[in-house]
Amino acid sequence: MQTYFIELSYLLASVLFILGLKGLSHPETAKRGMHLAEFGMLMAIIGTLIHHEIITYTWILSGLVIGSLIGLAMGFWVPMTAMPQRTALSHAFGAFAAALVGISEFYRHGGHVDKITMSALGFEVMLGALTTTGSLLAFAKLQGLVRGTPLTYKGQNIFNMALLATTIGIFVYLILVPGSLPLFFVMVGLALAFGLLLVLPIGSADMPVVMSLLNSYAGLASAATGFVLNNKVLIIAGTLDGFSGFILSILMCRAMNRSITNVLFGAFGSAETAAAGGAQQGVMREVSLEDIATQLAYARQVVFVPGYGMATAQAQHAVRELANTLEKRGVTVKYGIHPVAGRMPGHMNVLLAEANVPYSSLYELEQINPEFPATDVAVVIGANDVVNPDARDNPGSPIAGMPILEVDRAKSVVVLKRGQGKGFSGLENPLFFKDVTGMLYGDAKDTLTRMIQAVQQA
């Protein structure tokens, strides 16, 4: 009877999770979908609490309370600009939990688990361990604790491959010859090290792919936990998470016209790839704020193109205010969002939504590109590679073939930039040297705030 009740709660949870994710196909249905998923989660937890193997509730309840407090604190106080870091951290937590459950299962049986369970358990612990350290390093890079540039050394890929091969070798040995606890912990240690080494050579500009990939690993680690514990809802939820991350990785790679292998092992943004871009000739034309304000005030259509620079400058609210001011004057304002703008999938959309930009004004790459020839001013805010015309025009460029937002087809382009330095990929951007382009240096938020006043006076 009890078993039926538990399994029924899991079945209900599985159905509600799928309905919840289905709701995410539209912003209007998304909230209701999430409430369904939340209810499903609650049912599954209540169902589990009556599990016959549970003897003491002290640790369970204290764990639930502590976790809820941390979760609530993070949920309510993490600013939207820090969403990539938070997500990286939660991948680490999820993967760590999976790894711990796996280690506990192995330990309590003294390493004597049958071959099938061991296969699942090995996957669970290896994926869990490498995702934990990999996500923590991604977190450190996103938070600025570690430099965002790729760290490479000679023979790196060979060393990493050798390490991975050793880890898998131990895994296979443990399946065939069960019972060695020390060897198991060596495997865990190697997987932890591999996670760090995997993310070390990846630059900040490739973070959207890495985030998606770690998302996928964390999900698959949960799914493997489901195989070990023979728990169907865990398999379903973990697989949904794993595949979601996998699909996002593919979408992100496509948006950069690169393969996953290239992202993982290419060390994009290091000195060598930057040199391949070649030096650019010409001068950047600096323009005055007042000139731009006048152009904007008398434009018919203005398109804002945000990038990671908008997030670091916390300029999304200033962008919205400027847009409001322009809309009051009858200017049509749109936003062009590149899939890999920012540090995680959908990063820019969330920031602009936070600043009250209606989502009907947010345009995807394919939708906004045909609009640029009819656009009077395109305002690039802290974006660089996603508007680099070299991707389209120069087959020799390291980012050749990457779909870009074609701002250079607009009648006039303004680039808001912190300084004259290069973007994260280290590539020169020919857009900055074009005749239509004017540069405005300085903090984006500050520039935009002054721009609002200037437009009002125009």
Partner: protein
């Protein structure tokens, strides 16, 4: 684990993967960040495994590991859902009536 159990589990995995592919390909790029935090919260369901590990009194090590896993998973479940809700509440179709009024008078 018996081969039968494994095969049932593989069926569940394959069907979930297929369903996941269909459902998730329909999520627009607009909602990719909420999608990531939502799937993250959902896969926090590994909490149910952690709960049993923490409460079954297998041995001290397992209890400690289980307890830590419960903390991590609960953080993900609660934090993930709270943040997803917070994000989704921000997505609005049109400016609120107040703002439209301002535009009208401008």
């Amino acid at each position: 684990m018996s081969p039968d159990t494994l095969i049932t589990a593989l069926y569940v995995f394959a069907l979930a993967a297929f369903l996941g592919y269909l459902v998730i390909s329909r999520v627009p790029p607009l909602l990719h960040t909420p999608l990531m935090s939502a799937t993250n919260a959902i896969s926090g369901i590994s909490l149910v495994g952690s709960i049993v590990t923490a409460g079954a009194n297998y041995n001290t090590v397992s209890t400690i590991l289980g307890f830590t896993a419960v903390v991590c998973s609960t953080t993900n479940v609660v934090g993930g859902f709270v943040i997803t809700d917070r994000m989704l509440r921000m997505f609005k179709r049109k400016p609120s009536p107040k703002q439209e009024e301002q535009i009208g008078h401008g």
